[in-house]
């Protein structure tokens, strides 16, 4: 079974704060990490490999330093990693990103199972997975919390929707996005860390992917950001102390003023 797990390098968003005066993001010293949701996809890929045999390749599109994220993925036990990187890819929206990834996957000879995290914590769009499936013309199921193989090419899963969990069956090759509930990611292993240190991670650019400048990056994107601004500021904070009864009374009065309840 050939498994490809798509991962994204993201800034650790919870460390990002807006400068209260300049209203810009303070990103100094903010670490880059593997998008946390992608770790669940990677773990699931490794588990499928352990049950079904095969290989797990991690794939990412990003700036050259994203190679470090891929190397980190190798320390969890992935077999190989490939980075799609080119100045021309900069400014890609989800459409152009998915398009580039799709080409990358085709260049790698396709896969039986493609796993993605449910979304990235920086953009929060949850779009690249389904768009990638569209470009690869693969069946696709989102928000899986449990995968079970019923045959070598038939996968049953439970997936999360607003009303609960649905059982879905899909025939491979397919693309699945996973939610956190699906597993508990393992820790890296020292032997894999040693291997990852010297492992070659191929970097494929525009020409390697035989893509045209107009299909990738900003020119290949259908959406454009026209403005970035801070969210509306919250009002004054109030800290109340006192007897429980008084606090409850005061709070209920306030909530009623806000027309809640």
């Amino acid at each position: 079974m050939k498994i490809i797990v798509c991962i994204k390098q993201v800034p650790e968003t919870q460390e990002i704060r807006l400068d209260p005066i300049t209203h810009t993001l303070q990103r100094e010293g903010v670490k880059s990490i593997i998008n946390p949701f992608d770790l669940y996809a990677l773990e699931e890929g490794l588990r499928v490999r352990e049950r079904q045999g095969g290989s797990v390749t991690v794939l990412s599109m990003g700036p050259p330093q994203a190679v470090e994220t891929l190397r980190e993925a190798l320390t969890y036990g992935a077999d190989g990693a490939v980075l799609l990187s080119d100045r021309a890819f900069a400014g890609a929206d989800t459409w152009a990103t998915a398009y580039t990834l799709a080409r990358g996957i085709s260049k790698l000879g396709g896969a039986d199972l493609i796993l993605c995290g449910k979304q990235a914590i920086d953009g929060d769009t949850a779009q690249v997975g389904p768009e990638l499936a569209a470009f690869l013309e693969l069946p696709y199921v989102a928000w899986a919390r449990k995968l079970t193989f019923v045959e070598s090419e038939v996968l049953q899963m439970e997936r999360l929707l607003d009303h609960g969990y649905d059982g879905i069956e899909v025939r491979l090759p397919a693309l699945i996005t996973v939610v956190k509930e699906i597993n508990e990611p393992r820790v890296p292993s020292f032997k894999a860390k040693l291997r990852a240190k010297s492992q070659k991670i191929p970097v494929l650019g525009l020409q390697d992917l035989e893509l045209d400048q107009n299909q990738v990056g900003l020119p290949g994107s259908f959406t454009q950001v026209v403005k970035v601004f801070p969210p509306p500021a919250r009002g004054e904070r109030e800290l109340w102390e006192g007897a429980p009864n008084e606090l409850a009374q005061r709070l209920w009065t306030r909530l009623q003023k806000l027309k809640i309840g």
Binding site: R186, V187, P188, S189, F190, K191, K193, L194, K197
Partner: protein, 344 residues
Amino acid sequence: MDYLLTEEQQMLQELATQIAEERIKPVRAELDEEERFPTEIVQDLAQADLFGVIIPEAYGGLGLGCLENCLVLEALSQACVGVATTYAASFLGAYPILLFGSEAQKGQYLPELARGDKLAAFALTESQAGSDAGGIQTVAVKDGDAYVLNGTKQWITNAGEAETYTVIAITDRAKGARGASAFIVESSDPGLSFGKKEKKMGIRSSATREIIFQNCRIPANRRLGKEGQGFIIALKTLDYSRPGVGALAVGLAQGALEESVHFARQRHQFGTSIISFQAIQHMLADMATEIEAARALLYAVARYIDSQPKDFTKQSAMAKLFPTDVAMRVTTDAVQILAGHGYM
């Protein structure tokens, strides 16, 4: 301070720290409060290959030395000395096999210990004998192709959780300390049972129990080394493992220091954070200095042991003595700095 660690050593330290931060810290209070054995963390450490640090590559380990072992222990202990003790005790149980096991014994036991599939424990202490190995009451009597063990071991870390025990028992009482031998006992052996789990003041997530041998019959080929070599095996094992205790102490002290600094920065009294008070600064400076001194001694001794000297009993003892005393002082001061918050 930069101890000029190799890239490999830094990676190992990084990995242990990652496990400490991500897996141990979030649950340490709960483990301690509930006196719960850290099964999941043991699995994580196994997945990370960390049970193989000192075990030769030929047996599936990483083939590293005393310094690397100390680096891992220190990092784990910085988050929770209870969890780190569980991990350390497995090495303590593995050393006798590593140092004195036959090829067959090493081939059988070391790979599963290196993988972390099984835990080990070392059983020396009894109610009347700890460091005084000559006072051991547990006996092993040869009976055909077997030994029959009788007696009770006390305060054995990992007892009841481990599968592989290295046990010191008397085979010839007349010879005193020279009449002791070492054996490998498996948890499934008949006649082996465990006492109740001890309630401790600290390191409560580590399991401590009695081991009770009642006509516990094991094959004769489980004896480590020769008959009468048990005392030597015990002493050598302790020589190798003492720096590990020192590492636990350095990690513990470092963890306490960091909590103290964090608290002293946050805690406001008299209109300012208490870290600006000289009384606090003096304490923190002393704590930091003593920890660094302990670490420097520990690493120096560990490196010395890795150079394979003939005798290092004295150095090994120093590497346990000083860091553990430092840890006592530093943690006491930490409780002082955190005041009520450190006690509740």
